[in-house]
Amino acid sequence: MRGWRWLVIVPYFLLATLPLCWLFLTSLKTQEAAISSTASLIPTTDENIAPGGLKFSATGDAYRKLATPHTGKAHAFFHYLFNSVIIGLLSALASVVLGTGCAYGFSRFRIAGTRDWLFFIFSTRFLPPLAVVVPVLMMYRLFDLPNTHLGLILLYTAFNLSLAVWLMKGFIDEIPRAYEEAALVDGYSPFQAFYKIILPHSATGMAVTAVFCLISAWNEYGFALALNNAEAVTVPVYFAGLQGNIQGIPWPQIAAGVLIFVVPIAVFTVLVRKHLLRGVTFGTIKQ
């Protein structure tokens, strides 16, 4: 049994990680080696290797160059990474805070038309977000929001909030009502009961929701492109902008940047995968 399992898992693992491996190899190459028409696969420390062979000489130049602005760009890679981090974290935080509060209300209080409200919230996800890019752009112009971090944070929070409400409602529904009622009878106020009982018990749910929101903001491209051309440019937009660069596309640097951009999220997702699965089943199967 075990052997068969590995027979499936190992080839699939290799296949799935092939792009990442390729990125890693490319990030170690020089521009010439990267655009060479023959695939060189084995990095060596030997600096004098003729191009065209299976071996190539590895260099950390691509990573070093990430710290300096590329030709035609105002800032270095890390500036855009910082934009992505700020926007991703703050919008995820806002989604979780607002979503938890909203979900708690729907889970615990008798609200007129609860089901209709929840459906309305969910329905905001039916439309592909990019369909509203033009009206959003016009509204943003009115409020001076293009080219600001706040603009993207608001936008991503708005899009992710519905997901956050639904996920968090699933988690909070699972916490027995008697937990807070016991606290109420024990002498705690409703807010203290929420703070002392509900929050600690929904920590897992909040972490899961945060990851989902972060990933969605992290990877978003369309709005980030439409609403920005200078200040709040995120990593996906920055890389796309390197196309047609007068010096050619700097593949090793892109590979190095993408790795730095992708690996933290990938590792984190693998680490919390159990909770993520729970979150997914809560959101979709329950209710």
């Binding site: 027995p176 009622e181 016991a182 109420l184 009878v185 024990d186 002498g187 705690y188 600690p200």
Partner: protein, 349 residues
């Protein structure tokens, strides 16, 4: 007796179309243990939750020691509630679970006071060795002991217990039941104990309130309600094995069943048509004229239940000690006419 400790005054609660409680009047005296007995859905839990402040009634008042508490927050009422399903916070140890109510704001207890109360409670309930265990590493009985501990550690002025023993093994229920009676008496704190268990109701209550479909059917001492139930519905809720209910009509000072068997003497002043309630221990297996066939004999050790057919209807007879009867035997049961409860039947169904 002076003013009662707790007065429930004309209380009503409606959920949508269902009347969870209608026009409830209740007293609870200082130090008293009142059992609220009723089947699932009778409104017992709603009543407790209103007293605790977790629900707001649509009409009526909850008065504790002369003060109207109807619209106070739960935290202001100083009552302790033991829930049926919730037992403990799973992410805390036993000690932290017991501390939690004591650390509530406004209680302002010193560290030593908290430690003393916890050790007193733990000794009282024999859970001292468990104090530092996670709440998830307890057996069902231990968990329920700690849950009860959470209630008494606060020294509240009123206990509200919502079927705390329902989910436990029979043996554990029996042991904890006796412990609870002692505990309540020793502490002297008044208690409202909600249950659907007929044994708990009779054995624990100073008084019993029988609740059905949101209405109180009868309130009285256990003896009162067991021996003089005011309706067949009340009679059926108490006693084990269940009471024998027989529809009869009177002829020549005898009660006759539908199958025209005269089973027991009737009082001269009794109504023409009635339902008789005969407790299984008040039917004797001999001395009568109408034969009964025994279908099953349940020897329970201290007593024996005979299930049979008598006058074309099933009966239960309870005999103290062991018996010589076997399934298939024919007996001639007799009934003590003084121990029969008679309810008049007005209209035919």
């Amino acid at each position: 007796m002076g003013d009662p400790f707790l007065k429930i005054d004309n209380l009503s609660k409606v959920y949508g179309e269902t009347h969870a409680l209608s026009d409830i009047f209740l007293f609870l005296h200082a130090g008293e243990l009142l059992v609220v007995l009723g089947p699932t859905g009778a409104g017992k839990t709603t009543l407790l939750r209103i007293i605790a402040g977790l629900e707001v009634p649509d009409a009526g008042r909850v008065v504790v020691e002369g003060m109207d508490m109807t619209h106070c927050l739960p935290a202001e009422r100083d009552v302790a509630l033991v829930f049926q399903n919730f037992s403990l916070y799973p992410n805390k140890t036993v000690r932290q679970n017991l501390e939690f109510p004591l650390r509530a704001p406004g209680r302002n207890l010193s560290k030593t006071e908290i430690a003393n109360r916890i050790s007193d409670t733990a000794n009282l309930l024999r859970i001292a060795p468990l104090l530092d265990r996670p709440a998830t590493h307890l057996s069902g009985g231990e968990m329920q002991r700690v849950a009860i501990g959470r209630a008494i550690v606060r020294q509240p002025r009123l206990f509200l217990f919502d079927e705390p023993l329902t989910n436990l093994d029979a043996k554990l229920r029996e042991v904890l039941r006796v412990e609870l009676i002692r505990l309540q008496r020793d502490l002297g704190t008044p208690m409202i104990y909600v249950t659907h268990d007929r044994v708990e109701a009779l054995s624990m209550g100073d008084r019993i309130a029988v609740l059905s479909e949101g209405k109180i059917l009868q309130i009285g001492s256990p003896e009162d309600i067991y021996q003089r139930p005011n309706s067949p519905v009340v009679a059926r809720q108490l006693g084990y094995p269940p009471i024998n209910l027989i529809e009869v009509h009177k002829r020549a000072d005898q009660w006759f069943t539908a199958s025209n068997h005269g089973i027991v003497a009737a009082d001269r002043n009794a109504p023409q048509r009635a339902t008789l309630g005969i407790r299984p221990e008040n039917i004797f297996p001999h001395g009568g004229e109408i034969p009964a066939t025994i279908e099953a004999v349940e020897n329970l050790g201290a007593s024996t239940i005979l299930l049979g057919t008598w006058a074309d209807r099933p009966i239960h007879i309870l005999i103290t000690g062991e018996t010589q009867w076997h399934p298939g035997d024919v007996i001639y049961p007799s009934v003590d006419p003084n121990r029969v409860v008679v309810w008049e039947r007005r209209n035919e169904e």
